[in-house]
């Protein structure tokens, strides 16, 4: 079954986005609030077609970059996009910008743009 995974430390946002994606796109969407929670769902995560990773998951905690590296180590086949509310000069965003074949989405993202990302997940994976 096709699914989308969302990693964000904000419970309200994670819940709202996953619900919206399920309603609009009729695709199963699940989330984790931390890298540890993501690892706990590793089987489902690795089977998903799209991973939306929030870059900053809280000070001193593993970031979206750690999640990205983990996915690459596990040979994840789907598409990975980063999601952030930080400006482009934030150190973590700068690090992400150096990674190859990744897309960075800025919060707040238009629902239309979110739709496009989901629709394009197969083509760019």
């Amino acid at each position: 079954m096709d699914s989308i995974f969302l990693l964000d430390d904000d419970l309200d946002l994670a819940q709202a986005m996953s619900q919206l994606i399920e309603i609009l796109k009729k695709i199963h969407c699940f989330y984790a609030l931390s890298f540890a929670q993501m690892e706990q769902q590793s089987a489902a995560v690795l089977l998903s077609s799209l991973c939306i990773l929030d870059i900053n998951l809280g000070m001193g905690k593993p970031s979206g970059i750690d999640a990205y590296n983990w996915l690459r180590q596990k040979d994840f086949k789907g598409k990975i996009v980063f999601f952030t509310g930080h400006a482009s000069d934030h150190p973590l965003v700068k690090k992400v910008a150096k990674l190859e074949n990744v897309q960075i989405l800025s919060k707040p993202l238009d629902i239309a743009a979110l739709n496009r990302i989901i629709d394009d997940r197969q083509t760019n994976a």
């Binding site: 946002l13 709202a16 619900q19 919206l20 609009l24 509310g85 930080h86 400006a87 238009d110 629902i111």
Partner: protein, 312 residues
């Protein structure tokens, strides 16, 4: 993270400079006057108790200033003025004693040194600086004119030589004051740039902190359209988002604006745009300011070299 409001300095930089100049002047006054008591004893003879007394007074002025700190500007200026008047009085008395003893070799040396010291230390109040350098020209002339012609004949180079020194000192003093003003302007520009940077950082932090609630807001509004059955859940989420934005507002209430900015102007979008544009402009000017700083330092060094070369 939003930066904490910058604490206001307890005293201005100018007050600090005046205080430092007072300390240097009184300490140098104490040392030179005390040493001159031995020179005078060797040349003229006598105990010269007045020199010891003035040296002790200068030392007490120095200690008073040191204890008072830079915040008491008026007191510092008063002490500095008294110190200068006492030094000039000592120079006058010394010159009188020298000429009375028939010794003209070191005549008016004190005035020359004093005027140079005023120029080099760059007395902050230009009126006081000009008055002190002027005194170094007026006092020797007055003394010279008060002396009988038999004494005057013993010193053919005076008082014109002293006047020459005073003119050079006046020129050096003007140069120093101008440089100080330029340096102060540059410092103010740098300070303004730092302030703007802090505001820019605060604005960026605000953006970072508000983007997640905004995304939740957008998503939940969309959910309200497509999933009205869970209306209560979505409204509860919107209330939590509003609370978070309120918290952000509370944080910004603690962030004090600059004195010259009114709350009204801070709240307007136009001002925000102006400030961000100004900040971008400051970034461009930074390089230029750095270049100007280097030029200023170079011109200062060259100025001092040529100034001292002129005395050879």
């Amino acid at each position: 993270m939003i930066g904490r409001p910058m604490p206001k300095p307890a005293f201005k930089e100018e007050d600090h400079e005046i205080w430092r100049q007072g300390l240097v002047f009184t300490l140098l006054g104490c040392i030179t006057i005390w040493m001159s008591s031995f020179t005078m004893a060797a040349i003229v003879g006598g105990a010269n108790l007045y020199l010891h007394a003035v040296a002790a007074a200068q030392l007490s002025f120095f200690l008073l200033l040191l204890k008072g700190g830079p915040s008491r500007r008026n007191f510092t200026e008063l002490v500095f003025l008294v110190s200068c008047v006492l030094t000039l009085a000592c120079i006058m008395v010394n010159n009188q004693k020298l000429i009375e003893s028939g010794n003209t070799a070191y005549l008016f040396e004190g005035y020359k040194l004093f005027s140079l010291l005023v120029a080099l230390i760059a007395v902050q109040s230009w009126k006081m600086g000009a008055a002190l350098i002027g005194a170094c020209a007026v006092l020797p002339i007055a003394q010279y004119l008060s002396w009988p012609s038999s004494w005057r004949e013993q010193m053919p180079a005076e008082p014109s030589l002293t006047i020459c020194y005073v003119i050079v000192s006046a020129g050096a003093y003007y140069y120093q004051i101008k440089n100080l003003k330029t340096a102060r302007k540059l410092l103010q520009t740098e300070f303004a740039a730092i302030e703007l940077k802090r505001y820019a950082r605060a604005m960026l932090s605000a953006r970072d902190l508000s983007n997640t609630p905004l995304q939740t807001l957008k998503t939940t509004l969309e959910l309200l359209k497509h999933d009205p059955e869970h209306f209560d859940i979505h409204i509860a989420r919107l209330e939590r988002v509003a609370d978070r934005l309120d918290q952000l507002n509370e944080i910004f209430k603690k962030y004090e604006p600059l004195d010259e900015l009114s709350i009204e102007s801070l709240s307007s979008l136009e001002t925000l745009q102006e400030e961000t544009e100004a900040w971008a402009q400051t970034q461009e000017n930074k390089e230029l300011t750095a270049k100007q700083n280097i030029t200023l330092r170079k011109s200062k060094t060259l100025g001092f070299i040529s100034f001292f070369q002129g005395f050879r």
